[in-house]
Symmetry: D3
Subunit: 243 residues, 6 copies
Amino acid sequence: MRILVVNPNTTRSMTDKAAEAARTVAGHGTEIVTATARMGPASIEGHYDGALALPGLLLEIAAAQRVDAAVIACFDDTGLDAARSLAAFPVLGLCESALVTAGFLAQRFTVVTTLERSRVLLENLIRHYGFGGRARVRAADIPVLELEDPASGALGKLRWQIELALAEDSAEAIVLGCAGMADLAHALQLEYGVPVVDGVSAAVKQAEALVAQHLTTSKRGSYVTPLAKTYVGAMVEFSPNGM
Amino acid sequence: MRILVVNPNTTRSMTDKAAEAARTVAGHGTEIVTATARMGPASIEGHYDGALALPGLLLEIAAAQRVDAAVIACFDDTGLDAARSLAAFPVLGLCESALVTAGFLAQRFTVVTTLERSRVLLENLIRHYGFGGRARVRAADIPVLELEDPASGALGKLRWQIELALAEDSAEAIVLGCAGMADLAHALQLEYGVPVVDGVSAAVKQAEALVAQHLTTSKRGSYVTPLAKTYVGAMVEFSPNGM
Amino acid sequence: MRILVVNPNTTRSMTDKAAEAARTVAGHGTEIVTATARMGPASIEGHYDGALALPGLLLEIAAAQRVDAAVIACFDDTGLDAARSLAAFPVLGLCESALVTAGFLAQRFTVVTTLERSRVLLENLIRHYGFGGRARVRAADIPVLELEDPASGALGKLRWQIELALAEDSAEAIVLGCAGMADLAHALQLEYGVPVVDGVSAAVKQAEALVAQHLTTSKRGSYVTPLAKTYVGAMVEFSPNGM
Amino acid sequence: MRILVVNPNTTRSMTDKAAEAARTVAGHGTEIVTATARMGPASIEGHYDGALALPGLLLEIAAAQRVDAAVIACFDDTGLDAARSLAAFPVLGLCESALVTAGFLAQRFTVVTTLERSRVLLENLIRHYGFGGRARVRAADIPVLELEDPASGALGKLRWQIELALAEDSAEAIVLGCAGMADLAHALQLEYGVPVVDGVSAAVKQAEALVAQHLTTSKRGSYVTPLAKTYVGAMVEFSPNGM
Amino acid sequence: MRILVVNPNTTRSMTDKAAEAARTVAGHGTEIVTATARMGPASIEGHYDGALALPGLLLEIAAAQRVDAAVIACFDDTGLDAARSLAAFPVLGLCESALVTAGFLAQRFTVVTTLERSRVLLENLIRHYGFGGRARVRAADIPVLELEDPASGALGKLRWQIELALAEDSAEAIVLGCAGMADLAHALQLEYGVPVVDGVSAAVKQAEALVAQHLTTSKRGSYVTPLAKTYVGAMVEFSPNGM
Amino acid sequence: MRILVVNPNTTRSMTDKAAEAARTVAGHGTEIVTATARMGPASIEGHYDGALALPGLLLEIAAAQRVDAAVIACFDDTGLDAARSLAAFPVLGLCESALVTAGFLAQRFTVVTTLERSRVLLENLIRHYGFGGRARVRAADIPVLELEDPASGALGKLRWQIELALAEDSAEAIVLGCAGMADLAHALQLEYGVPVVDGVSAAVKQAEALVAQHLTTSKRGSYVTPLAKTYVGAMVEFSPNGM
């Protein structure tokens, strides 16, 4: 099967990192293909970036060819509902996938994300997905693009928040709350001796699971196909008429 | 004071209708100015339209001059969090404003919206705003643009759902769940003898209330100003650098 | 329009302070009239005072003449449901009004109230109004009447709790949880650089908003007019028969 | 031990009925004493009556002599928090007691109350007590005082709602939602073959249970003793100073 | 009446301690009889022990003769739902009984249990019983059987957690979260001046209350009698056929 | 990898059916091995059966050799927490796995189970897993073992409940709430045109996903390894000492 990993921001090095995480866990016979948004923000940090990333993301979803499932490689699950409405194949988000994965391993866990501006946004997502009583969020004060720079000290800040999560939240597992942390999960799991969940890996495996079960997004109710209508301006090219 | 009513879809007749509702309730000294999205969908029905409406909406928010507050004239509260992050003035959504208004008048009430595809989306908003145990949603099976056509039979379908809400939900008040219904609230209130809340009116009065109290969106935490960063392509013109 | 500000305790200086806050934010054409309970406690601190304040409060509501809306000037929303049942005009409480006002400005905020004995009572109100996941409560250890005495050190205690709210609760806004703090909101907002919401101001603007929209309490269901029946003793004079 | 059953309305026949239910279940060595409010409404139906009943109720609580516990014989739990603050002995409400009793017997149950005006009020109490996902409320359209009149047809209406609860709510048990129904529980339990819980009986047994365990209301936090202060007018005689 | 106190672990000294607590609060005319599981773990600490204790517990429930009610003397409410399905008499658990008892006395309280491994398990029970917003759990780091040994220092650890609960949780009451602490409640209540609830005592009084009201588990819905079917192996002797 | 599918009831034909479903979706390189409980009930219908199935289930978990993950093939998630505590490999339940799978495909869905006695039990599980606002449960009135008999009419009853779920619950997807229905999912999905999720398939894919990510149950907190202690009687052979 072919799984599309879409990076909704325009930074290609983050696409590459997500693709590498995806390929590490992908099953036999799974091909990982990637796309990077061609318009929008260089990283997604908070509500404004998330909103501006949507057309670029949906354009890639609409343009996807011979794909069995897609993963939106951003922990905010930006545009997930819109992408599910648009696509004929299942679409997975990192946050939702990582939460349910951690939920199989631990009763209580902590999501460590980048900036404080994303903390409440993730808390609200956690409640929306039904994990309100089980998961907390901590921000490590790391701008997303700093994760691309080994000299930034980002790893130290991340480790500090994991240690606080274990000591103060009684966390039983850790979820890494940014696609840009995908390469760190394995080493942190070995270091701390608790499960450390990476959202890219989790979402790829969920995508494979749905495809293997011949399951895709329901087109009844919430995710019904968009109506044919006029879309003015830059977005016209991915009107549902053109699907 | 000047309040901007932004229509996030591209249909000017809906902007005009919202403006009329806004002017009807506006206080002495309040000037209502309007903007219509210049790109995006002709109406917002479901997740996909909502996502595509965001750049057009945020462009108008970013371009607003000498405005004291803004109202996003769509009941889905499309882009509300992003607009609050972007703007230096308070921004109100129709759903949030209408829910709190109905909450002062009734313990239990029903939102009547247009299409089934918006029903669960509004249920989720209602829970997010804390009204999960108090408000229900009914869809009247009316495409939004049909509300612009008096011959469409839309009013009859709407009245039927109001009657069901009173009979089966024990609704104590009704909320009209679409900006395009703003002109109907007064007559329906007289007909059914229960409060009928229109979101445009509710949001305009909330905007006035905040301005009179010298209150605006907190720039600490959730709605912190976007970071300066590269935005590629069509969206570059409303990067926060240009604010 | 005429808005009645009713102080449900018997301390006239608190009525005057609430009236001043009300007049500061009232719109053009709004007349603020006041009433002070003629029987009941000198201040309302906890469940017992709240219960004993009810007849005095309802007497003033029942006696109101040519009034378009009423505000109950106590942050505990004492008697709000009963007053809504009794009155033909809308009735606003400080807590409900302040919470929804803060909700337009911030995702997370903290209510700072007077005494520890009111803390859990306010937490329960906050849950009832649907803000359970968004708002916390802190008590500043200030007896209500001390707020009337500039030499009491009350302001210092209040500022200390605001600072804790910002540091430990990650509060994005502050709500002043007592009618007697109405005069402090503006200066505290300037000092701390976050929105500071006063309940009296918030409730007056909500009252104006409802009147401008021709909305009043639903008389269907929860707030139906009281039945005509025998009321023995001191309360007979404001039986609903006499309305 | 001596348990005081206080009727917060002024109708003595309802006091007598509650006393009879209380004596039927009281343990060996328990003496049931009664009090009827000397001022206030003849029956409590909705928010307004509940508010006006408070001074009459608290007067009886304050006047209680050599009592080990008190039961407020009204299903709305009118004044329960204030009475707990005032009294040195434990105070039980019918609704809270009946809900926890039913909770030991059934996962899902239905409260059948008198008038529609009490339905939402009881729903809110049910949520407050933590039974929001387990209990429903039905109103039988019976004015409270009609329960005192055998010719009123009240029993037939009550039976009809019980049958609907069993058929449509999948109720596993029934709670009678009015003190005036206390005499009917036993026969209805025999007729329908499911547990039928009466609030007066439930509260009396909870009172005995607390006394036997040497437990009384915590005076730390929520129910701390009222502060000594001025109470003007009719209520002065039961100021906490006089306790 | 006869109340069976069943210890679901195999340690007889814990049965004796529970029986003593039960007899101390039992009413006139109540006979306490005991049973100790004949197979299963020596103490119940966490999910695994709880699961393995079930057959031994259900065997004693099935074998009970001329019993009016049963109390399962373990704070985890191990097997409570299964026992309610099996038995023709009411069955009480310590956690559920203690929570509702504390709920009559305090708005906020803390459960102090033995080991960290039981903390989340109890948090989940607390939510299930509807006390999620009112009760916290603290673990005192005491293996259950250490409570049987006066020289173990267990009391000191327990007192330390009570002091933290009062200081940091603003607890208004304490619940002792282990059957093995039953003998300590009275002294701790005197020492700390807040209600201290023991689960064994609470459950025995609830059992008496239900019997006095002629109430037993509903056999409609959740707790319907088990179907007659084949049970292979060690458990065959307490098949429902043999009841 | 090797995945163990354990049937916690003693009916081998159900094990075989679950194994077949498991093998149908298993990935390349996954070997499905099975175990059937050697003691306990022939089918699990309600709380009592669930409790009695635990030792037989845990015995198979403890005896598992060279297994990478286990699936408990019962929709009640019987013994899931205990098995997670016991095993060194991840353990999946059908209900949890099916709910999260459906959650990726639909906002609202309905679980169709066998008997009414399991309905509330599943409702409680659904709340525990955080799907309380999204999923409903319907019982088709089919004894579990009837699913093994093609002549029983069970399929007709199941289809009837699916049709009601689509019409009355606005279900966007269906979850089959019994391991014995695993063979029906595919045909029902084709017939009704909405996703139909089978728990066995869902759990097997989740097991593969966890193994591929090198994730297993956290041994910190809730699922810590059982303490070494005395286990008397039939259960002694799978004491954790012997692991």
